[in-house]
Amino acid sequence: MGYTLVYTQVLEFFPYLIRGALISLQIAILAFFGGMFFGLIFATIRTFGNKLMNNLVIWYVTFFTNTPQLVQIYFLFFALPEFGILLSPFVAVLVGMTLNAAAYLCEIQRAGFLSIRQNELDAAKTLNFTLTQQVKYVILPHIMKVLFPPLSNHYIIMTLGTSMAAIFGVEELTGRAFNINSETFRSVEIFSLTALVYISITFIATFLLALIGRYFFKAKMRIIQ
Amino acid sequence: MSQIEIKSLNAYYDKLHVLKDINLNVEKGEILSLIGPSGSGKSSLLKMLVGLLKPKSGDVMLNNKQVNYSNNSDLRLIREQIAIVFQQYNLFQNMNVLKNVCIAPTKIQKRDQKQVEEQAINLLEKVGLKDKLKSYPDELSGGQQQRVAIARALCLNPEILLLDEVTSALDPELVQEVLDSVRLLASEGMTMLIVSHEMSFVKEVSSRVVFMDNGSIIEINDPKIIFENPKEKRTLDFVSKILKD
């Protein structure tokens, strides 16, 4: 390659790259909502469940938050076949990311539950709110406001985390960058362009999330600075 | 020749016009109180004097010398002559009372350590806190903290002292002890600019009272006149509302 950067050779692959970004987003969103679902169940168990269930969840969360997501996926992809469970790369990544997300999102949501202040509930009770009304007008809005920033932040982290799918052959953004690299060998150009795409999608995501947060959940979030 | 002369001063906080065409003279040794509703610019005026808010236009003269707030050495000079006490969070939380009072005179003014300590202990005794020398701010009540802050400001040997709503953040029972300390200073002849909501105190110690509203000076007069027979309608509105409470 020498010292000259030739972006033109790489720009023709740009649409292909962008479609890869859509797949990255797909993985991130699926894994995020999957993680939210299970995380919510786990958080509920942790807050209201019996001792045994509570401990099981604690072990699960401790395990998944103290080991790397990459190795968790490696395990799913390479070790499960020993038990006859064969997962495609896409599914392995998705399952791995979901299981990982469930652990972190459990903790985030649990913190949200714990943030309910007793005097808010007391105030609602004295105003004769029924339980449903308490939940709808006091508890839920408060929890949403508290949870929105950390959840948004974790979503961004997951979006960046989808790049490890490329290691397993999934053709999301990074995966496609690998493909273009092996065709054109313009490594610096390709990966800097990919970096730019990641920066763009995270900026767009941060911006949209900040808007949603501000208007729907009254959660004030910054974009930069 | 007034000690402070402010002419046609304008200042902005971002896009907000917080000080509008301010004209004010402060005589040496006088106690000038600034009253007015929230957002009227009283605190902004004090902050401007000590260089925390840069004026957009207008002149400030200190002891007949023009002050250029954009010039660093001018800034250093006025800060050696004017000391300020804020509404809260004055004291450095990571230092005990004695260090709080001594640090600027020793580290910044480069005065002799022993001499500074002596003066510090003296001042702290005056405000009634001699037994709290080694205490940390979070071990003190709000009133005690403010009294230390006043001692700290005085240890800088300023010519002019600015007090920016120093009792507004305090629980009511702690207000008096701080006002007592200020009253003590007032009797010693130091030039002071006081922003306060404590109207009876203002009436008692001030030589003149300035009423500000919406960034402008509305009226400057004798405390008796301001509170009993003000010239301007806006002053009357404010004063009657405040005194009713």
Binding site: M1, Y3, T62, F63, T65, N66, T67, P68, Q69, L70, V71, Q72, Y74, F75, F78, A79, E82, L160, G161, T162, S163, M164, A166, I167, T174, A177, S187, V188, F191, T194, A195, Y198, I199, T202, F203, I224, Q225 | K47, V50, G51, L52, R76, R79, E80, A83, I84, F86, Q87, Q88, Y89, N90, F92, Q93, N94, A104, K107, I108, Q109, A149, L156
Partner: protein, 227 residues
């Protein structure tokens, strides 16, 4: 299952254990050096980013750009970029060096933000009071702000350190002999993936968990200290 149990003695040989131990050391070194440099340089970034003078505006701008870039790119992409830049400019072909540089660049961006947050958590009046007493910007940071901010900075910085241990797993992709790469090697050698990756998961856990507990303990101590 029986095959697995048969494999265990040939897996846990002294050679393998030393091999894994070294790999664990590399993982830890990458994390520790990255965080140490990240703390030092990140601190500098935070200090200069909070300056107010017009003459330093270009520097502040560069710091913001740098921070945003390295916080918005996946670890893998940063690593590959540095890797290829080094390869093409023939700077070095030392994989560990490339990984260390990448790790330092990323940690600087993240820890810089943590330190900046810590500085911003200190009430503005502390700055104003010191400035009005003629403290210089750096004097205020040294005498007033940092002595208070470190308590706010330490817990998230330590959290980051623990999280970073897991991020270094990606260095395996350029062939650095850290834990994940070691697992791949063992797997390729013919050992059961269950054993290889399973053991590595446990080793990461052994690295991370005690630090995590210590971090929580430290955070509790700091909170009670503050009150």
């Amino acid at each position: 299952m029986e095959r697995l149990i048969e494999e265990i003695p040939s897996f846990f040989t002294i050679w393998n254990l030393i091999f894994l131990g070294k790999a664990m050391g590399v993982t830890f070194l990458l994390t520790a050096i990255g965080c140490f440099v990240g703390f030092s340089l990140g601190g500098l970034l935070a200090i200069f980013r909070k300056t107010k003078s017009i003459s330093l505006l270009p520097l502040r701008f560069l710091i913001v750009i740098y921070t945003e870039i390295f916080r918005r790119i996946p670890f893998l992409i940063s690593l590959l970029l540095i890797f290829y830049i080094f390869m093409i400019l023939k700077i070095s072909d030392n994989l560990f060096l490339i990984a260390i540089i990448t790790v330092c660049l990323i940690a600087t961006a993240y820890i810089g933000e943590i330190i900046r947050s810590g500085i911003e958590s200190i009430n503005q009046t502390q700055w104003d009071a010191a400035e009005a007493m003629n403290f210089s910007y750096f004097q205020i940071l040294k005498e007033v702000i940092f002595p208070q901010a470190w308590k706010v900075i330490l817990p998230p910085a330590f959290s980051f350190f623990i999280m970073f241990i897991k991020d270094t797993a990606l260095a395996s992709q350029i062939g650095v002999m850290e834990l994940t790469f070691a697992a791949k090697i063992l797997n390729n050698k013919g050992f059961s993936p269950l054993l290889s990756f399973g053991t590595i998961l446990i080793l990461y856990f052994i690295l991370s968990f005690p630090l995590d507990r210590f971090g929580k303990y430290m955070e509790k101590r700091l909170v009670t200290n503050r009150n």
